[in-house]
Amino acid sequence: MKVGKSRFLLDKKPALKKLVELLGETYPYVSILGTDVAGKAYKVTTTGITVKGSDWSERGFVIRVHDGQRYFEYSFNEVDEDSLEEIAEYVRKRTGSASKTVKELSLSYTSLTPPEEEKSEIDFEGEVAILPGKMSPGEIIQKLASIRDRAHAISEEIVNVMTLMENVRVSKLFVSAKKDLYQSYMWSQGYLYVLARRDGNTKYGIEGFSGLKGLEILDEMESKIDKVVENARMLLSAGRIEPGVYDVICSPDVAGLIAHEAFGHGVEMDMFVKGRAKAVEYIDREVASELVTMHDGAASAREVSSYVFDDEGTLAHDTVIIDRGILKRGISDIISATVLGTEPTGNGKRESFERKAYARMTNTYFAPGSDSLEEMISSIEYGYLLENYYSGMEDPKNWGIQCVIAYGREIKDGKLTGKVVSPVMMTGYVPTLLKSISMVSGEIELSGTGACGKGHKEFAKVSSGGPYIKAKARLG
């Protein structure tokens, strides 16, 4: 079913086009991104119920101008036909003020050429199986409550259950002298969080669900609740891992975290511009085992970061970052591509209209191989099968990696022993980790719950994933 379009953006479009023309009298390049992102989040826990607008909701505009040498942006969310001249005047005044500050402090500007645009028009409306309006808030709450109650019925060790489901419709409009782009699509995400306690020891199981979906995600959540309860209770008996280097098998979500943290952040090309990415020295060189091929792109998969054009009006790509172990290229926004003399790859993303566009990941994943999970397990004398993760952090300059993994299942003499360790911190040098990949399974899974930050801010929706991979890793 079609997700519908933003009446608001379509109504504002004539005024925005006028504003582009008005500013075009002063600036060689002018573009405006309009956003109308709306959704609802439903959370049912053992202790309460919450219904609120999605935290991803936003409605506003950002103007980008280029005066022949440099860019300036203005974010705002109040405009009508009568305020266009006032907005244009404010932009002119502010560009002058920024120049004054730079001059007074004896600093300078990065000299940039304006983007060369080709004429393009797009009008896209996505589809999902079940639109959010097909169920009332009461029915959605009831469904989430039934999942919660099922978890409690399994064990008295469960002390709290959280079920969360969020549907978000993203609508964006991009206008410039040559571009007239519109898109609406919908993504949804869900979480199951189960808190278990035994003799004062507390652990939790967590599972995420995501995709370009609507209410159909509720059925997926319901099908997994038993497993999440089982995991939470399993962790109550988990021990601590002895720090060391082990043979490991990473589940698709952990493989995705590695793809994301290890190379995803490291090939965001604004990092190349700043000299913050070691990857720039390794283009066309071996950085991983020949079993490793890695993609990123809004057009590379159907997940939460699949769009038709990015927040700078560049069309979606499918970028092959690593091809059979060789680092091929990075992903970029327009400004980075301009500085580096490369083509933008449709990765210019903003947290919202209020924030700057950076080079950001979209759907990042390792391509499948030909091994099976069973073959991988049987090939390990002593090691761990690592599943689920809590968080990760990148270090693009020095290629360090930090992944906090929920748990590891012990493997001894080619068999799972039933012993579990939790949590597990995976650290190390990225190429060493990726070069150690010796087996890759045949099917991939992607997931796009949560948010990805750049540093510790600029949260954006991304997905990541991959197949099962076997590697050597330092765990602690």
Partner: protein, 424 residues
Amino acid sequence: MLEKIISRLQKADINGWKIEEKFIEGQEYFFVKRELDLSRAKKVRHFDLTVYRDFYESGKKYRGSSSTRLSPMMSDDELQVAIDEAAFAAGFVKNPWYPLVSSMVERLEPPDHDLQELSSDAIGAIFRADNREGAWLNSMELFVTRNSHRIINSEGVDVSYTRYRTYIETIVNASGKEEVELYDQLLLSLPEKRTIEERITDLLEKAIDRSQAVSTPSLKAIPVILTGDPTKEVARYYLNQSSARMKYDRISQVEPGESVQGDETGDRINLSLVPDLEGSYFSAPFDEDGFKLMRRDIVKNGLLKGYWGNLRYSSYLGVEITGSAMNFSLLPGSMGIEEMRSSPHLEVPNFSAVEVDETTGDFGGEIRLGWYFDGTKRIPVTGGSITGNLRDIKSLYLSREVELESDYLGPKSMMIEGFNISGE
């Protein structure tokens, strides 16, 4: 717009409402080395609306709520639909009843500042400090904002205040065995020039150390000293254990009069909520409900004195309402930092990210920069990780020296025994 929203709420089938209006003006600068890559400005207004509906079931009173963000550009029809949908949804939210804040009218306005001048002050201070041989500023992002808040509700609350906030993200490089970088984020209210210069200077020094660092060795049973941001994150764990929401949600198991700490020896935690912490980015006189905030002692000598929380969760637990203050403080401890450093230890000021799990007490992080002292030499180290659980540590000592770090004022360092160090 605000009057229009209130007028419609007064006609809606609801039992209460709350609106938080935020108007944010900001200037942003993005530098690569000493070149301005991009400058930005913003002026945005948001209305966050919560509606409440009361109902009875089996003789028990419930209060449902639903929240939504309203745009100042909503048409009359859109506004009505948004209010109607929120009111309808609130009718299905079966939560125990709780009161709203009532009868509070106050307007607090600080002296006015020019955002352009504040930005220039910050930029000047940052680049003045970029004068260290062997280390340099790679890139910097500056956000200076004026944030005007107004909270109004159906029970007579109408409070407003304005706060200035400064956010500086800095990346520095240093050249040594290889070129390295360190990341820092500094959050302040006004861009205090001396604080900024000292912070950048310290960061450049640390980057030089990281450029000389060797791989963290495999170390057994030595104390770990956390300094700066990691200290704050451990302190936050104790804050969260004292939260009314965490208690109500069955995550925290601590009862009033019980210890928020484990069985470790050493210093006891003394923790307070400090809504108006001078220089803090997060200081605010009212919480999101419009409740007037005051300093509160929460943990005394390691024992929970009383939970802190907003009106809803405090009401659920039947405890005194403190409101949700955004700053907290810890009293200084018994050891000076130099005393901590006098015997073998691993000191870590920079992790890739500090992970402290508020539910389980698990702690972990990859070491970006540390210093290993073997009893004679202090060697910069990098790589490897520290893991452990704050409920299982053997000892905890807090430094006498204190610092303001974002929303935290308290010991700059803490020394912990009982963590695992994974090195080479």
